[in-house]
Amino acid sequence: MNNSQMTQSEINDSLKDLYKKWPDIKRYLKSKGCTSTDAEDLFQEALLIYSRKLKSPDFELTVEPFHYVKNTCKFLWYNQSRKEGKVQKTEIHENFSETESDWFQKELKLRSIETAISKIGKQCQELLQLFYGLGWSMVDIAKKLGMRNDKVAKAQKYRCISKVKVIIQSDHSENTTL
């Protein structure tokens, strides 16, 4: 709780610094058998998790940011390899406490929601990101997206959410019937 929350621009600065370490991370992940493209995806995912963690009120960083990100990459890589059946369950969680693991599970789940969101129209995606991600007002969003007024944008927002829910539920039912 003693961590005063960082502003978005501070977070971005921190991310920029971390990005400079990309060659190290790349080397590390490659040594684990990860391809370059996969590695950068994992790295960005880890940075994303890190940046979201920074925003959560009860987060206290106990290690260097770089090590946190590196560990996250490692976790993500093991997780992916396990899914692809490349490695057996090993001591993946060595560096993560139980609560951390929950946190990651949740992030991974949200990632699948992101995938569902990416399947809806571009305008819908932008609208949802502007509203929930950047906290824009409906008036501004309507202006930006060329809608008549905020009522229209709002109605559109509900439709966009509904679309995502349909995708999630159909994905879900597909998975359960398989």
Binding site: L15, Y19, K109, I161, I168
Partner: protein, 767 residues
Amino acid sequence: MNSNITKIIDQYLAGELSPEDTKVFEERMESNPELKQEVEIQRSVMEGAERASNRTDVQKIGKKYHFTKFIKWGAISLSAALILAVSSYYLFDLGSDSVEPIPQELIEQMDESAQIEELPTHYFQIPEEGAVVISEEGTLLSVPSDAFLLNGEVYNGISIVQLQEANDALDIITSGLSTTSGDNLLETQGMYGVQGFTVDGDPLEFNPEVGVYVQVPVDGYKADMQLYDGKKLADGSIDWQDPEPLEKLPVPVDMSKLDFYPVDYENYLDELKWSQGKIKRDSLYLSFEEYTFDSGEETMDELNFYFTGSGMIPERKITQEENEYLYEENPPIDFIMTPEEAYRLAMWMEGPNWEDFYGFWGDGTDYYDSTEAEDTTWVVDAAASCESDMAGPNHILPSKVLAFWNPKFNNTNLSTREFELRMRAIHNTCNNAVLEKYTNNLDKKISDIDREVVAMGYTEFEVFAEENVGALNPNNPHIKHLMNFYEQGIEQMKKVNYRAQNAEEERRSEMDEQLDTERTQELTRSIELENQAFNEECGLNLDNVYKQLGYTKGFTITGGSGNTGAPNAALKNIDKQVIDATIARNSVEIVDPKTGKTAELTYNEFNFTVANHEKYRKLFAYIFPHELNSYQRIDGTNGVFDYPLNNDILYDFAVVGLTEDGYEYFQKQTLRSGSFGTIDLEIISDVRLEASIQQLNKKRNANPVPIQSELNWLITEREYYEEEQQREEMDTFRYRVAATLFPCMEWNSEALRPGNDACGGTSGLAN
């Protein structure tokens, strides 16, 4: 998925529900696990959206990192000031064979004064009249005749141009070039050194009035790419100064080599192997100036509905969402949609959410009922106000394109590949105002216009704006004149189109009228003919029966009642039997009750079947009785004709079938009866058909009824049949072509499929 539930959940999650409602909602959730799950999913959607936004940030940071790291993009740096605007110049190849190689000592001498020591030099010899040359790396140099100065005077001799180029990061790094401007690090796209020399190796200066135009190969344009001057510092390194925005000059191309049609138009015509002639294609294109769906088929009506975004009142209640849009906080009690409300909603749908609404309306009949809607006057009103609401047609008018697409506009902004590309995008905007920006501003830089178009809201033109394309011949005194000419050209085109369309419409309506007249005449004629034939045959039969019964006097029959000169009941009875038999075409034996004598009327079997009857659009048999004045036309059923013949009459008969390609015919002469089984018709020309029938009609003993008007009718029907098919084909064709021309209209994809008849089934002619 119900938007209303989504909305309530959203309000709940955002804490916007009142405390009472929140309580009720939470109780519901407790008792309803499905609702609870849906709330969870929705919460995760919100978080997922937030996360997606975070991801965008991370990706941006990653991109930035790579940009600076690899110097992928950047400013173009040039070692000497090159003047950009070249008012006109000629392109031609400088064949390396035709030029004397530059002596080695001279090269070494010129190398001495190379701008960038680390880079290799390339030399081009430029003739007095100037030339355009391209380096192996793809850098284009355009050196006009007056590009250089020697001792302050324009240099007119052969020049040698030295080029040094570092096109990519590797070249730049290996040659140890700096990318600094003062204390700032530049991102660079490439660095170029250009110098001019006389054939003796004396350095030339750039002529500030003309200059050399350099075009460098880039993978893409970055908006803020600029041109820097390189200044050699004391330590030999280069500092880049005085940035200027880059400009690319459009390259003039002859109008005849450019293509300003919508992209799919020519592809479609080529697919059909339609005429390649530009005149033909232009006039086809022009004929779509005022294109509307007007073929009156059902599919077209549906399309009109989607096209105008209105046209019908949904027979349903207003949804909560719509209610909110219409009335905000104070909705009326009555939720049934009124025309006014439907109209406003239709307008709403034409807004940015149109796509969503399209699906919204398109998915069921419970939203609207077309039959109900047609009863209201609103349909018309809405269509009218829709039209007046629209700023103009929602496609680029062919006249506006064709008016500039001619040699008169050569050497203007419009006769360039650059504009050709833009024209494709302009078609997709469907907004004539966008086109006008370009056509009305021939003296402006193309990319300045691009920026104006972006400002109109067409963000897809940003790519063009970033290319920073200049103007071609902006100072040409003819430009003003051309702009006037363009306006006149459009009017001219409109007139041409109007005349063509008018002529076609007149032709069609003339054709329709002729057919109408022929058909009316045919109807009266058939009735008269039938009456006459019956009366004649009846008279003949009565004559015959009376003869057999021993009455010798002739009779006339009027109106089927006996007026026989033998005014008694028995004869009337005989009359009736004869009339009945004639109507039924049955053989009978008639007994005279007075004398007990008998008389016979005999009808013989006569029938045939026409092979492949289904191929005939119309199929008739004509019967020519030798003893009567009238001929008879009999209709078969499914190609089967059965018409007993009177044994006292000698007949000829002919069968006429109308097909897609013309007539088919069969004839047989001098018979009283016969079962002919299946007969095959043979193709016959219209002239021969007419002659044959005329002959059959005339050769009879009696005083034949003229058959010419019947033949005229047949000919008209046939012509119209062809016409109708052509119209149908034309409508289908035009519909498909229009779909290639007007991207903003909603098209019925079924109807567009090749081989699918867009205009519905065959609509037969009314008989």
